[in-house]
Amino acid sequence: MNKFKILILLSIFHFSLFAQQKFEKEYRIKSNEVPVKSLQVIKMWNFKKKVKWYAEESNDGKTFEAKVGYKKHRYSIEFSEQGEILDVEKTVKFTDLSKEIQQKIKQNLSRRFVKYKIKKVQIQYLGTETAIFNEVFRLEKLSNSVKINFEIILKAKKENTYALYEILVDDNGDVLKELKFKQESSLNLEF
């Protein structure tokens, strides 16, 4: 094979790699740009504080997120492109969780990491609009139709290096997902 052919092959390989890169974009939008159904849900839930809307586009599709403060917690309500509720996330302190779940999470994290420091904890509620609303905002647990997970951001050490991880834990403390992510470059804040 001559050098020219190798070069063409390398170029194709390079472009195919490029095409597989994860695409993600998040931006603020106005309430008139969100799916009608999701807007209706948020209006019905009648928050006193201002609701901020965001759109998130990625390779997996587009979602809409309403962010609002309610009773000293930050809530994020995620909707599909059709306006169906996907989940509600409530930002809490790790110590706000029950002692039992704290213990289970700590045990699991200690097994996975040499050292770790919890940066952010969100309780994730999955279920129907009515069930989520009753459980999250009216604090009424009418049935077991709302599934609860915990999304935890942590700085952790595996072998010799520290990295940031996003961990999804179920209500038994078992890890469902572990995602390592890169810290954004701060070149422009350092130099």
Partner: protein
């Protein structure tokens, strides 16, 4: 677009203040190129030029060129120590500078805050070595959404204090910038760099530079 308004207001106010006193003004274009050597080490090189457009009266003259090379050691996920060298070519003279930086950056939901502590040594032939210390705080906020994505704008505000041990005097810098993330690897910033010198001596010296900085990261 309404988010750009405060930024324009700052530029307007700073310009207004400067226009009422004696000052130097000009352009400071800069390119910063960062190469990843390993997970914990970056090699950062930069070149910066200074052109004067106002020095008591309007003129256009090339003033100096700074070329720097820095070894940046990541000591934690959000902390680094930088060791660098700058060579400054100003007319016929050459000034050598070595410096040490300690940086830490905090990330909040939509705000990033960077702190930089620095110590600098200046060397010139037939002159005594001089020392300077400086502290800078910088804030970065996206203009759309909670994080800066590719093809999005952001604002960056900087405030720096520089103390010269030889003159025992203080210089204060205020740097409002409008940034644009052109790709995953490069950001470009446009803004002002207002410098208030001889602050303690009270013989105030004003400089206003129009800055353009292009940050390129090669992983």
């Amino acid at each position: 677009m309404k988010n750009i308004f405060p930024f324009l207001l700052i530029i307007f106010c700073v310009s207004k203040v400067i226009c009422q006193s004696n000052f130097d003004a000009g352009f400071l274009p800069k390119i910063v190129l960062s190469n990843k050597v390993s997970d914990k080490i970056n090699w950062v090189n930069s070149i910066e030029s200074r052109a004067i457009v106002y020095d008591d009266n309007y003129q256009f003259s090339h003033n100096l060129v700074d070329v720097s090379s820095i070894l940046s050691l990541k000591t934690n996920l959000n902390q680094s120590f930088n060791f660098g060298y700058i060579i400054r070519f100003r007319n016929e003279e050459i000034i050598h500078r070595t410096f040490q930086h300690y940086n830490f950056v905090y990330q909040f939901s939509s705000l990033k805050i960077g702190h930089r502590f620095a110590f600098e040594q200046f060397y010139q032939p037939k002159k005594q070595t001089t020392f300077r210390t400086r502290y800078r705080v910088s804030l970065e906020k996206p203009l759309n959404g909670e994080r800066v994505d590719v093809k999005e704008f952001y604002i960056k505000l900087g405030n720096e204090y520089l103390y010269d041990f030889k003159t025992n005097d203080l210089e204060i810098r205020v740097t409002p910038n409008l940034g644009f993330k052109a790709s995953k690897r490069d950001k470009i910033e446009f803004g002002l760099d207002y410098r208030l010198g001889r602050f303690i001596e009270n013989a105030t010296k004003n400089n206003l530079w129009f800055r353009t900085t292009w940050y390129i990261s090669i992983d």
